[in-house]
Amino acid sequence: MNAVRIQREDFDIGAELDVLAGGRNDVGAVVTFTGHVRGDANLTALTLEHYPGMTEREIASHVHEAEQRWPLTGVTIIHRIGRLEPGARIVLVATASSHRQAAFAAAEFLMDYLKTRAPFWKEEERGGSKSWVAAKDTDEDAVQRWK
């Protein structure tokens, strides 16, 4: 029951959760993470670029690893690409399990890997000028805890 999608369109969290957990009674816990574009320091927009093919492959391999580590009944990952303005949703990670700790841990694990291994790049627009967002050491530190 896993789904991985890279898309320009926004997503509907309620509808995604209905697919992930609806109509079944073995799901006790669903955790979602939604990332939004923050509007700090006069950000006008972010434009997200990705590596088609590798992205899906990389995410699928981390979903597989999450399934080895925790008892999951399903995972949904949606990552948007293209130009996104402040407030817009960027990414959804949703994990379903019988147990809450598994759902929480898997969602954090998948987010840490998305941030540091999935081939997406963000370009910022502030007023008229554009610049590529630099990777953060804190994200790399976060992913190291799963080793």
Binding site: G35, L48, E49, H50, Y51, G53, M54, R57, E58, H79, I90, V91, M111, L114, K115, T116, R117, A118, P119, F120, W121, K122, E123, W132, V133, A134, A135, K136, D139
Partner: protein, 83 residues
């Protein structure tokens, strides 16, 4: 072999994709970086500081000592910033 470039690497080299035949002696990712840098211009700029680059061979993250000589697709990009 297909070479792919993303984000500022793409902007500096001026293309997102190209086909090349590997020159003799280019065996590793590091060798390929040195070769591309030697082209000068935008390539010299993009590959000036290899420590800023990340590389995937056939869609798998690899280090600079990984072999490229039998690869179909090699991609160069900055550290990722999704999520």
């Amino acid at each position: 072999m297909t070479l792919l470039y993303f984000a500022w690497v793409r902007q500096k080299v001026g293309t997102s994709e190209e086909q090349i035949d590997l020159p003799a002696g280019v065996v590793t990712v590091g060798d390929l970086i040195a070769h591309l840098k030697s082209r000068g211009g935008g390539y010299a700029d993009a590959f000036a500081d290899p420590a800023r680059l990340r590389v995937a061979v056939d869609q798998e993250h690899v280090s600079f000592d990984a072999p490229v000589d039998s690869a179909d697709e090699v991609a160069f990009f900055p550290p990722v910033t999704g999520g």
